[in-house]
């Protein structure tokens, strides 16, 4: 994996920027287009780019598959857990208003923030998991068949 010097240098610059953009999309989703789902895809894209340039094994060292599996679950649990908290506070599932009874709209903010984070985590992990799964499979066709 020594060739592609330009790719390696450029991607090293780009990957942090892509990840930062993902978080911008995530937290700016209330004000402009964007949200957890888009951000998750972009975040996964950053890791996928890393895998494409430096190899799948390197990417798996950076973000191990076991983390990815746990991330998938945590994402869903964060979303569902927000609902469970509102349940425990005595209201309906996912009624965020109950989080701050004095200012229901603040509760809505916190709720939306939490669930969007859940979506981010779930989507980014799942996208990576799918990429790992396909990437690790050995092709029966060699590159020369192209």
């Amino acid at each position: 994996m020594t060739p592609h010097v330009i790719l390696r240098v450029v991607s090293k610059l780009l990957i942090p920027l892509i990840a930062m953009f993902a978080f911008y999309v995530q937290f700016h989703g209330d004000y402009g287009p964007g949200g957890g789902f888009q951000a998750g895809v972009i975040l996964a894209a950053a890791v996928i780019l890393y895998a494409l340039i430096f190899g799948l094994d390197e990417a798996k060292k950076a973000i191990p598959p076991s983390w990815v599996r746990i991330g998938m679950t945590l994402g869903v649990l964060l979303y569902g857990g927000t609902g469970v908290v509102t349940w425990l506070l005595g209201s309906e599932f996912l009624s965020y208003g109950v989080l701050t009874p004095d200012h229901p709209s603040h509760g809505q903010h916190y709720g939306i923030l939490a669930v969007e984070l859940g979506v981010l985590l779930a989507v980014a992990s799942v996208m990576l998991a799918i990429f790992y799964a396909f990437g690790s499979r050995q092709p029966e066709l060699s590159d020369e068949d192209w």
Partner: protein, 156 residues
């Protein structure tokens, strides 16, 4: 009927696109091409929904009066996050002066896009496994192998 088709040509095109996608799913024998067809079909359905929600002369459903995302709109309109506490509930009617497109279809389609990619991922994973055990991703070949197996009861 025909004059209506021309008046609502947006819908006409969307229907033609849906038909094309559906045709690719049904007519092609290649498992990956089928999935591409499915994807085109679903994307066309998304176009249908978004077309329903379009309001002529409308704007994207992001309330411009309330909050300035980039700073350009910060005019006399109250900054919502700052002013919300003082404005009594029900007092603020921002939507009356600006025309927005319908946000509901957008939300539905955001969900549908995710569902679509989930289906696609499973479909492709199945395709890869089928290629490994059958040695082909052509429906004819797979059916032939299965048919022979059903007749003879053994493999190969």
């Amino acid at each position: 009927m025909f004059s209506a088709i021309f008046e609502n040509f947006h819908y006409t095109i969307v229907i033609i696109l849906m038909m094309t996608g559906l045709y690719v799913v049904f007519s092609s024998g290649n498992l990956i091409k089928k999935l591409v067809g499915l994807s085109v079909f679903q994307t066309s359905v998304f176009l249908l929904y978004i077309s329903i929600g379009k309001v002529r002369g409308g704007q994207p459903p992001i309330l411009v009066d309330d909050h300035s995302s980039g700073g350009e709109h910060a005019s006399a309109a109250t900054n919502l996050l700052a002013g919300a506490a003082e404005v009594p509930a029900g007092g603020a009617h921002h939507a009356s002066d600006v025309l927005y497109s319908n946000p509901l279809p957008h939300v539905l389609i955001l969900t549908a896009i995710v569902v679509g990619v989930a289906t696609l991922a499973i479909g492709l994973a199945l395709t890869v496994r089928i290629r490994e055990v059958y040695g082909s991703i052509e429906e004819d070949v797979i059916n032939e192998i299965d048919y022979r197996y059903n007749l003879e009861g053994t493999d190969s």
